[in-house]
C-alpha cells in the first residue's frame, strides 16, 4: 500500500487538508460532553437561563463547525483519492502497453483486466477511507482519554484499563474471524466452480447419467460452506455483546468511584455524565476502527496485486532503427526474412519450442508452414514481428536483425492475422482502419475483396458502418476471421502472416482466399500457417516442423520425396491418389 502512496504526490495539499479537517471535527465532538456538563453543573444548579442559552447555542455552533470541517475533509479526501486512482490507472495502462508477449503470457491478460479495474477501484476506495478515518478513530480514543484526564486523574485509570481491553477484544474477534472468512471464501469458490462445471459439462454429465451424484456432491459442499459460515458467524457474534459488557462495566466503575469523588467534592455531577459519554464515544470509535481495518486489509490485498503488475517489466529492449534500407540490401529480389539457427524457449518451459531453425524467404514468396500442435509453427511466425525474442540465433528482416528496429518500424512492415479472430467494438470501417488509420474506403473495399469479406459486408444494410459489438458477437466465426484478414491487408504490409487463420472458413472460401492473396498481392511475402495440407501445398516453399525442429523445406513434390513426416501428414489427410496427383 505504501509503495503506491507516491501516486498521491500531486495531491499533497489535499491529502494533508483532508485528515486535518477531520481531526478538527473530532475536536468539536470531544468538547460537546464538557459543554453539556457545565450546562448541568452551572446552568441548572444556579438556574442561570442566559448561561443555558449560551451553552445550547455553543452546542449548535460546534455542530455547524463540525459539519463544515467534515464536508471540507470529505471533499479533499475524495479529490485526492480519485486523483490517486486516475493516475494509477493511467500508469498501469501504459505499463501494460509496454509489456512484451512473454510477460503477457506469464500474467495472463484476464488477470490484468481485473487488476486495472476492480483492484484499482478497491485501492482508491481504501485511500479515500484512510484519508478520512484513519487518524480520526485513534484520535477520538486518545482525545476522550485526555478529556477524562482533565476531569479526573484518578478516574482516568478506568479508561486506561477499559480501552486496551476493548481493543484486545476487537482484535481477538478479528484475528479469529479473518482466517475463517478466508475459508468461507475458498468454499464459495468451490461452489462456484462446481456450478460452472455443471453448466459447461451439462452434456457429459447427462450422457453418463450422473446428475444425481452431482447434486449430492453439491449438497455436501454447500453443507460444508454453511457450517463454516456458521462458525464465522459465531465468532463475530461475540464482538457486540463483549464490547457492550466491557463498556458498561467501565460505566459502573465510573459511577461508583465517580460517586466517591463527588462526595469528596473533587468532581461534579455533570462531569460524571461527561465521563460516561466519553466512554460511549470510545466504543463507537473503536468499532469504526475495526471496520476500517477490514476495508484496509481488502485495499492492501488489492495494492499487493497492483504492485505485482508493476514489478513485471518488459524483457525486451527496443531497437532504434527507424528505416529499413540496409546498405548491403540493394538487389530487389533478395531475402526478405531470414532465420539463422534460431531457437526459442517460452518462459518457464523446460524444452525449446523451436530449435536451430534456419531458412530464408524471398520477397513475394509464399511460405507454407505445417506441423502438429506444439510443433512450433506459431512460435516461428511470432518471432518475425518480434513478439518474442529468440533464445539463440538471429531473425533478419530486410537483412537487419529484428532487435535493431524500433517496434513501430518493424511491426509496420508486418500484417498479422492471429489464430483467434479478435474484433473490437466500433464499425467495420473502424476495425479495418486498425491497420492504417488513414485508409480510404476504396482501400478498405480492396482489402475486403481479397479477404472474401466484401460480399457479406455489402449485404449488410449499413455496409462499412455496420456496428460490431464487443468481441464481434454479432458476426459468425467465419465472418470475423475474414475481417481480421482484411484488417491485416489494409495495412499494405510487406510481410503477411496468416496464423492458422482460415480454420473457420469453409473449404471453398478458403481456396478462393488463397487464390486472391496469390494473384492480387504480388510483392508481399506471405506466411501461411496451417494443419491442412490442402492449404499449404501450393506454396513456393513449405516448412515442415516437428517438435520444434525443421524437418523439411521445399515444394510439395520435393517434400513427398524426401520428408517422411510430411508424407505421413499427407497420407492422414488425403487419399493416395490425391497425394501423388498433386
Amino acid at each position: 500500500m505504501f509503495k503506491l502512496a507516491g501516486y498521491l504526490r500531486n495531491y499533497k495539499k489535499e491529502s494533508i487538508i483532508g485528515p486535518l479537517f477531520k481531526l478538527l471535527e473530532a475536536c468539536f465532538e470531544l468538547i460537546v460532553p464538557l459543554v453539556m456538563a457545565s450546562m448541568i453543573d452551572i446552568g441548572i444548579k444556579n438556574a442561570d437561563v442566559p448561561y443555558i442559552w449560551k451553552m445550547g447555542g455553543l452546542l449548535v455552533f460546534f455542530g455547524v463547525l463540525g459539519l463544515t470541517c467534515s464536508l471540507t475533509a470529505q471533499y479533499f479526501a475524495a479529490k485526492a483519492a480519485m486523483g490517486f486512482g486516475t493516475e494509477l490507472r493511467r500508469d498501469m495502462f501504459d505499463h501494460i502497453n509496454g509489456l512484451s508477449y512473454t510477460e503477457l503470457d506469464k500474467i495472463g491478460t484476464s488477470t490484468l483486466v481485473t487488476r486495472i479495474t476492480s483492484d484499482i477501484n478497491q485501492a482508491q476506495a481504501g485511500v479515500n477511507l484512510l484519508l478520512r478515518l484513519f487518524l480520526r478513530s485513534p484520535f477520538i480514543v486518545v482525545g476522550a482519554v485526555i478529556m477524562a484526564f482533565t476531569i479526573s486523574v484518578r478516574l482516568t485509570v478506568i479508561f486506561l484499563v477499559a480501552v486496551p481491553l476493548l481493543a484486545l477484544v476487537i482484535y481477538a474477534v478479528m484475528a479469529a474471524g479473518i482466517p475463517v472468512y478466508r475459508r468461507v471464501q475458498n468454499k464459495l469458490d468451490r461452489v462456484l466452480r462446481m456450478t460452472r462445471e455443471n453448466l459447461t459439462g451439462a452434456r457429459v454429465v447427462r450422457a453418463f447419467a450422473r446428475q444425481d451424484d452431482e447434486i449430492e456432491d453439491f449438497d455436501e459442499t454447500t453443507r460444508q460452506l454453511q457450517k463454516i459460515q456458521l462458525l464465522a458467524g459465531k465468532i463475530s457474534a461475540f464482538e457486540n455483546p463483549l464490547t457492550y459488557t466491557i463498556v458498561n462495566l467501565a460505566i459502573i466503575a465510573i459511577l461508583w468511584f465517580g460517586g466517591k469523588q463527588v462526595e469528596e467534592g473533587m468532581i461534579t455531577q455533570g462531569e460524571v455524565i461527561a465521563l460516561v459519554n466519553y466512554m460511549t464515544q470510545i466504543l463507537l470509535a473503536l468499532v469504526a476502527l475495526a471496520n476500517l481495518i477490514i476495508s484496509a486489509t481488502k485495499a492492501s490485498a488489492s495494492a499487493i496485486r497492483i504492485n505485482e503488475v508493476f514489478a513485471v517489466t518488459s524483457s525486451m529492449q527496443e531497437g532504434t532503427k527507424e528505416e529499413s534500407v540496409h546498405p548491403a540490401f540493394e538487389r530487389k529480389d533478395d531475402r526478405k526474412v531470414t532465420f539463422r539457427n534460431v531457437s526459442a524457449v517460452y518462459q518457464g518451459a523446460k524444452e525449446e519450442a523451436l530449435s536451430g531453425v534456419s531458412f530464408s524467404a524471398k520477397a513475394g514468396e509464399t511460405i507454407g508452414i505445417i506441423g502438429g500442435t506444439g510443433s512450433g509453427k506459431s512460435t516461428l511466425v511470432n518471432l518475425i514481428p518480434r513478439f518474442y525474442d529468440a533464445a539463440a540465433g538471429t531473425v533478419l528482416v530486410d537483412g537487419i536483425d529484428v532487435r535493431e528496429y524500433t517496434y513501430s518500424a518493424l511491426r509496420g512492415k508486418v500484417g498479422i492475422v492471429p489464430q483467434q479472430a479478435v474484433l473490437f467494438k466500433g464499425t467495420i470501417r473502424e476495425n479495418i482502419r486498425w491497420g492504417r488509420e488513414d485508409a480510404t474506403d476504396e482501400e478498405i473495399c480492396e482489402a475486403l475483396d481479397i479477404a472474401q469479406a466484401r460480399e457479406f459486408v455489402d449485404a449488410k444494410p449499413e455496409g462499412l458502418d455496420t456496428r460490431i459489438s464487443q468481441g464481434g458477437k454479432n458476426l459468425s466465426g467465419g465472418q470475423r476471421q475474414r475481417l481480421t484478414i482484411a484488417r491485416a491487408l489494409a495495412k499494405k504490409p510487406e510481410i503477411l502472416i496468416l496464423d492458422d487463420s482460415a480454420s473457420a472458413l469453409d473449404y471453398a472460401t478458403d481456396a478462393k482466399l488463397r487464390k486472391a492473396i496469390r494473384t492480387k498481392t504480388s510483392g508481399i511475402t506471405v506466411f501461411l500457417v496451417s494443419q491442412r495440407v490442402a492449404t499449404v501445398r501450393q506454396a513456393d516453399q513449405i516448412l515442415v516442423l516437428d517438435d520444434g525442429r525443421l524437418v523439411g523445406a521445399g515444394t510439395h513434390a520435393e517434400l513427398l520425396d524426401n520428408c517422411p513426416v510430411y508424407k505421413e501428414i499427407c497420407l492422414s489427410q488425403l487419399s493416395k491418389e490425391e497425394v501423388a496427383g498433386a
Binding site: E25, I40, G43, I44, L59, V60, L71, A78, M82, R90, F93, N97, T109, V113, Q124, N128, V191, T195, T200, R203, V205, A207, F208, A209, R210, D213, D219, T222, Q226, Q229, L230, G233, K234, A237, N240, Y244, T245, I251, L255, W256, K260, V262, E263, G265, I273, G372, S375, R411, P418, G478, R487, D500, Y507, Q538, V565, E568, S572, L574, S575, E578
Partner: protein, 599 residues
C-alpha cells in the same frame, strides 16, 4: 390476427401486468416459505431481540437514577447506589447474552435458508432442458446460483439483525421517553425526521451521480477488456497510442464523476450527525429548563441525552437495511425465476430401461428446429443397422451437433420419432438411453478431480485395474504414468495442466471404461499434434469395432469407410448415401469433396 388470438394475447398481457405487481409480494411469500422450517429460530430471534432492546433501553434509566444519587459533595447516598449498580450489572449481562443468542439464531436462520435455496437452484440446473442452458449465458446462470444467493443471505442477515431491533428500539425509546417527560420527547420526535429528510434528499441527488459513475466505470472496463484482453493484437497493430488516447479521455471523465459521487454520498454521514447534534442540543436546552423547574431530575436528563444519542441511529440503519433488503429481494426474484423455469419433460410413466441394445437406430419422418421460424430437419428418414458407421459431413457450423443433440435426447424431435433397438426413444428413460451411447466431443470436458475419477466418471465403482485397462486402450496410460501423481494427479479446472490432445485421450478412456453399444464421436479438427492424432485414430478404430457409430467426420479416410454419409449444410441434411453414390450424384458433397481434397 384472429379474434381468438387477440383475446389470448390480451389475456397474456394482463397476466404479465398482474405478475409484475404481485412480484415482490410473491417473492417475500416464497422467502417466508423457505424460512418456515426454521420458524422456531425465527421466534427465538424475535424474543431475544425484544429482550435485548428493552434491557438496552432500561440501562440509561438505571444510570440516570445513580446520577441523581450523586448530586454533589456530601449528598452522595452510597447505600442507594450499590443495589442499582448491581441491577445495572445484571441488566448488562442479560443484554449481552440476549444479543449473542439473537445473533446465533439469525446466523443459523440465514445460512440454512441460503443453503436450501442454493441447493434447490443447483438441482434445477440438472433438470433444466439443454435448450435453456444453451440459450442463456453461463455467467448469468452462475451469478444466480452464487452472487444472488449471497446477496439474499447478506440482506436477510442484516434484516434480521437490524430491522427488528431497529423498529423495537425506536418504539421502545419513544415509550420510555414519554414515560419520563412529554415536552422533551416531542422535541426529539420533531427534529429526528429532519435527519431522514436530509438523508433521502442526498440519496436522491447522489443516485444520478452514482449512475454516471457506474456507467463510466462500465465504459472503462469494456475498453480495458478489449485493449488489455487483446493486448497482443493491440501491439501487433501498433495501436497502443490510439488506445491510450481513448483511455485517457474516459479516465478523466471517470475522475470527475467519481469525485462528485464520492463527495456527495459522503455528505450523508456528517449531515445526519449534524442533525443528531441538533437533537442533542435541543434535548439539552429544553431538558435544562425542565430540570430547572424541577420537573425532571439531572439523572433523567442524562438518560434523555443518551436516548437522543441512540434514537436517530436506528433510523439511519433502517434506511440502509431497506435498500439492502430491496437488493436481496431482487436477487431472490432472479433465483426463483431460475427455479421456476420449466424443467425437461419427465420420463414417460412406465418408461423402459434399456438393457439389451443391438445397436439399430431408426429415424422416422423426423422434423426438428431450434426456432420454429427457421426450419432445419424436415421429414428425415434414416435406418441404421447394428454395427454400421454413419459419417456426418459438412462445413464448419453446419449444425452437425444437432444430430448429436437428437440422438442423445438433449433435445426432443418436433415430429416423427427415433427408434433405438426398435423402441421409440420417448418410451425409454433418458438415463438408460444416454448410457447406451458413448460420447466423445471435441470440446473436452473434464471435472476437477483426479485422473482416476475422471476416467471412472461413467462407472464410479470401477477398480484401479479397470481404469488402467481403459487408459491403456485409449493410449493414455503412458502420459498418465508420467504425471506427478500418476492416476491420482488432480486435474485443475478445465484441465489446465493437460494438453488438448491429452484431454481428448482421457475423454476416450472415459468412454472406453463403459464401452456402450453405440458411439457418438466428434473428430478433432485441430490443435492436436500428429502423433497424438494417430493415437486417437487408433483408439477410435478400436472402439468402433462392432459398434454402431455416428462420427462427425473431417478426415477423408473416415468418410470413405462410412456405411452412410449424412451431408449437412446450414443445419439441414442435404444428401445421404455412400461416398460413391454421392460423388455420382454430383451434388453438394461432390462439390465439397472437390474443393477440400482435390484442390
Amino acid at each position: 390476427m384472429t379474434n381468438k388470438n387477440k383475446a389470448k394475447n390480451s389475456k397474456i398481457k394482463n397476466s404479465i401486468i398482474k405478475n409484475s405487481r404481485s412480484n415482490s409480494k410473491d417473492t417475500i411469500r416464497r422467502i417466508l416459505q423457505h424460512i418456515r422450517p426454521y420458524r422456531f429460530q425465527l421466534v427465538l430471534s424475535l424474543v431475544f431481540a425484544v429482550i435485548s432492546v428493552a434491557l438496552t433501553l432500561y440501562a440509561p434509566i438505571l444510570i440516570g437514577n445513580v446520577v441523581d444519587l450523586i448530586a454533589g459533595p456530601g449528598q452522595v447516598r452510597f447505600a442507594g447506589i450499590m443495589p442499582i449498580l448491581i441491577q445495572i450489572l445484571a441488566v448488562v449481562l442479560l443484554t449481552s447474552a440476549a444479543q449473542w443468542l439473537m445473533n446465533l439464531c439469525n446466523n443459523k436462520l440465514t445460512y440454512y435458508v441460503a443453503k436450501d435455496i442454493r441447493t434447490r437452484a443447483f438441482h434445477q440446473l440438472e433438470i433444466l432442458p439443454l435448450k435453456y442452458l444453451d440459450s442463456h449465458p453461463y455467467g448469468d446462470t452462475i451469478s444466480r446460483v452464487i452472487t444472488d444467493v449471497d446477496q439474499l443471505s447478506d440482506g436477510l442477515l442484516m434484516g434480521f439483525n437490524q430491522l427488528f431491533t431497529g423498529v423495537i428500539t425506536i418504539l421502545g425509546t419513544l415509550g420510555f421517553m414519554l414515560s419520563i417527560n412529554i415536552t422533551i420527547t416531542l422535541a426529539v420526535v420533531l427534529i429526528t425526521p429532519v435527519s431522514l429528510f436530509v438523508a433521502s434528499f442526498i440519496a436522491k441527488r447522489t443516485y444520478r451521480m452514482f449512475k454516471a459513475q457506474s456507467e463510466t466505470r462500465g465504459e472503462i472496463t469494456s475498453l480495458v477488456e478489449e485493449m488489455v484482453g487483446n493486448q497482443k493484437v493491440v501491439q501487433a497493430f501498433g495501436y497502443e497510442d490510439r488506445a491510450r488516447e481513448t483511455f485517457d479521455g474516459i479516465n478523466e471523465r471517470l475522475r470527475e464523476c467519481s469525485t462528485k459521487a464520492t463527495f456527495f454520498s459522503s455528505i450523508t454521514n456528517p449531515a445526519t450527525r449534524f442533525v443528531n447534534g441538533l437533537v442533542y442540543a435541543g434535548v439539552g436546552i429544553i431538558g435544562a429548563f425542565t430540570a430547572m423547574r424541577g420537573l425532571i431530575s439531572v439523572g433523567q436528563l442524562s438518560c434523555f441525552l443518551s436516548y437522543a444519542n441512540q434514537y436517530t441511529k436506528p433510523f439511519n440503519e433502517i434506511s440502509s437495511v431497506v435498500t439492502e433488503l430491496q437488493n436481496a429481494f431482487a436477487s431472490a426474484r432472479r433465483v426463483f425465476d431460475l427455479i421456476d423455469e420449466t424443467p425437461q419433460e419427465p420420463d414417460a410413466p412406465g418408461a423402459l430401461t434399456l438393457r439389451q441394445v443391438d445397436g439399430g437406430v431408426e429415424l422416422r419422418d423426423v422434423s426438428f428446429s431450434y426456432n420454429p421460424e427457421v426450419k432445419l430437419i424436415e421429414n428425415l428418414n434414416l435406418s441404421v443397422k447394428p454395427g454400421q458407421r454413419i459419417a456426418i459431413v459438412g462445413p464448419t457450423g453446419c449444425g452437425k451437433t444437432t444430430m448429436i443433440n437428437l440422438l442423445m435426447r438433449f433435445y426432443d424431435v418436433d415430429r416423427g420419432e427415433i427408434l433405438i433397438s426398435g423402441h421409440p426413444a420417448r418410451q425409454i428413460t433418458r438415463d438408460s438411453l444416454r448410457r447406451s451411447f458413448g460420447m466423445v466431443l471435441q470440446e473436452t470436458w473434464l471435472k476437477t478431480g483426479t485422473v482416476h475419477d475422471n476416467i471412472a466418471y461413467g462407472r464410479p465403482q470401477a477398480s484401479r485395474e479397470e481404469v488402467i485397462r481403459a487408459a491403456r486402450s485409449a493410449h493414455a496410460h503412458s502420459f498418465i504414468k508420467r504425471m506427478p501423481e500418476g492416476y491420482d494427479t488432480v486435474i485443475t479446472e478445465d484441465g489446465g495442466n493437460l494438453s488438448q490432445g491429452q484431454k481428448q485421450l482421457l475423454c476416450i478412456a472415459r468412454v472406453m471404461l463403459c464401452l456402450p453399444p453405440m458411439l457418438i464421436l466428434d473428430e478433432a479438427t485441430s490443435s492436436i499434434d500428429t502423433r497424438t492424432e494417430i493415437k486417437i485414430q487408433q483408439a477410435f478404430a478400436q472402439m468402433m469395432e462392432g459398434r454402431t457409430s455416428f462420427i462427425v467426420a473431417h478426415r477423408l479416410s473416415t468418410i470413405r469407410e462410412a456405411d452412410v454419409i449424412l451431408v449437412m449444410k446450414d443445419g439441414r441434411i442435404l444428401e445421404t448415401g455412400t461416398h460413391e453414390e454421392l460423388i455420382a450424384r454430383k451434388g453438394f458433397y461432390a462439390q465439397l469433396y472437390e474443393s477440400q481434397f482435390a484442390n
